[in-house]
């Protein structure tokens, strides 16, 4: 389809959906259709479009320059190649050059589904195009450093927009256990949506919930975001025993290494609690979907676990990455590279207690210093 024709399709669809009633799977009784813009057409941004559309919203999915192939495929077949699911009709795909002031200004909510490495690009785009204070919701997980300390991504986005003269934009985030392909397939998924602004939260949550996307509100944005980032980091360690097992083999009685993995899981939660507290978040978030729930799902599968397996099998990080996962983004390892030096500064300045983070230090040693992974048993709580 030529670009020109496609624009016509977009306009027609847009007019149609804006006047439609809500989808059958939407939970709202008295529902007005909203316009949601999702920036980033990778697995998570695209998966989010499914419940967003099923909740009755018109969803404008704008790919980045890295998503061109995917957007083309969606236009041709309706199917996202990575999610292997056909989008609801109410999802309208755009290429990155179609992101415009007009499109942004018609939306009630802007959702960022780019990778953490894509955040500066996204902020740059939004910074030059945003004309109002439409709320921004981050699907992206990560922590950044700023002035020798750690910062949650919503704060980074807010700071980035401020550099473009854009202020007072509420920036929130989604956290909790959510494998993208499961969400796209309409599998029951519980997440937490966080905004510091309680009233805004109250209006946004019902606009996203469906019969399978169970959305819980939280005003502890710092807590859920810290958990969302750190679970990838700690999943590296919890994946270690499976790798160690593959190297050492089963015990003579067939015993595996579940006790070890579970012992590290508990330690991870204890350390996450310390980190969340440092970032002014609450323990409730660590105990809930964003912390324990997401850590649980992250340990069942995924790239962070796989890197942990490789470390457990005896490889150094550099070897594991180069020879086995060269083309994969291992978010937990990326985060280790960011927070490793920051933790070191915070320890040295006495702002964090080194003794409270033995597992984090073991992970940082393995990733940042390419040392063998070493479980510091006697240092645990």
């Amino acid at each position: 389809m030529a670009e020109r024709d496609w624009e016509e399709v977009i306009l027609t669809r847009h007019r149609t959906y804006s006047s439609q009633k809500c989808h059958a799977r939407c939970l709202r009784k008295d529902c007005k259709v909203s316009e949601i813009l999702v920036l980033g057409a990778g697995a998570m941004g695209s998966a989010f479009c499914f419940p967003a559309a099923d909740a009755g919203n018109t969803v404008h999915l704008v790919g980045t320059h890295l998503d061109l192939e995917w957007i083309r495929s969606v236009r041709e077949t309706g199917i996202h190649p990575k999610l292997k699911m056909k989008f609801p009709d109410k999802v309208i795909p755009y290429t990155h050059d179609q992101l415009s002031k007009t499109l942004l200004s018609t939306c009630d909510l802007i959702v960022l589904g780019v990778s953490s490495a894509g955040i500066p690009w996204a902020v740059e785009q939004l910074g030059s195009l945003i004309q109002n204070t439409t709320p921004i919701l981050l699907l992206t997980k990560g922590l950044q450093t700023r002035e020798d300390t750690l910062q949650i991504l919503p704060d980074s986005v807010r700071a980035g927009l401020a550099e473009h003269g854009i202020r007072n934009v509420p920036v929130g985030a989604v956290a909790g256990p959510c494998i993208a392909s499961e969400l796209a397939a309409g599998r029951d998924t519980r997440v937490v949506v966080g905004f510091s602004e309680a009233e805004l939260l109250e209006s946004i949550v019902p606009r996203l919930a469906t019969s399978y996307y169970h959305v819980h509100p939280s005003t502890d944005l710092a807590g859920i975001e810290a958990c969302a980032a750190l679970k990838n980091f700690y999943a590296l360690a919890i994946g270690y025993p499976a790798g160690l097992l593959s190297k050492q083999g089963k015990a003579e009685n067939g015993a595996l290494m579940h006790n070890l993995a579970a012992g590290l899981f508990a330690q991870a939660l204890v350390e996450m609690t310390q980190a969340v507290s440092f970032l002014d978040g609450t323990r409730d978030s660590v105990m809930g979907l964003a912390g324990a729930g997401d850590l649980y799902v992250t340990c069942q599968a995924g790239r962070n676990s796989r890197m942990g397996n490789l470390l457990g099998s005896g490889l150094r990080y550099s070897e594991a990455k180069a020879n086995h996962m060269a083309n994969d983004t291992v978010e937990g390892a990326e985060l280790a590279l960011v927070i490793g030096p920051a933790l070191d500064v915070l320890f040295r300045h006495g702002r964090l207690d080194r003794k409270s983070f033995p597992l984090a230090i073991a992970i940082v040693d393995a990733i940042c210093h390419d040392l063998p992974m070493n479980i510091p048993w006697t240092a645990f709580y």
Copy 2:
């Protein structure tokens, strides 16, 4: 070997080990050999003997009348048939009729490794034989009801002994992720040992720790015991998605149901926190090895998960038990049958808030009332 000869072996071994120095895997620098009596030669009681002996103690393993075959096998081969591992020499096996006042009085620690159903029998035995205030350590997990409320097992044991006129016996417990066969195989295992008596705790913990058995002290006995019991109960629900998946099949894009399981995992921890608080335990225990750690390992394998799978596949509890797990003790289901009626009373009297336990109610409905398992999405926190 004739019974008479065996007694001679026991005496000789006992004399030898009491004068020996500690095992190489013991962590203590200045270590005195202790005498530990383990009552119950099932998987967990027997597995505990491995680190207990490796920590330098002489371990007297006394089977119950149900463990006769196992004790015989240990005497003949040194191997526990269920654990499929050869005991360290310092573990001395006894049949139930060899439990005596003399044996009990020479021990520094009595460990109960019977099933929760065996607790009354064990209390009866100890009640008639104990002559001093040797501390008791429970490996058994469970909650009981007493005067319309819930009670942790150490309190039940204390109350049972008091009926025999035995008072002032410290009763503690072990909690945390510990699959018996892994412990017996010397796999790294982190547990928490709880006693209300801080000084006693300080003296006992180092006597149990080895290079692979990482023992953390806790004075929150109520918290760790409530977690230890409830994790079996909640594991029933977390096992549900895998069963549902087996019935419904993969989604068209291959998606599984990890999000659902993780969402239930988080809910379980939130509800466990409420229950632990009701029993005067602390949140720290829920976040640590006894709570999150043990729930994690319980969900990776075991009979509670399997029963959850069967419920998820669409079977009622009665069918699942009778046709698939007739000879298995499903501890989470046993617990549901105990706490279901108690919860109902506590809800009616307003001592617990029904709204805080939607997942518990769903489990109780499935087990006690044989209803289909139903996930109460909108009732979750």
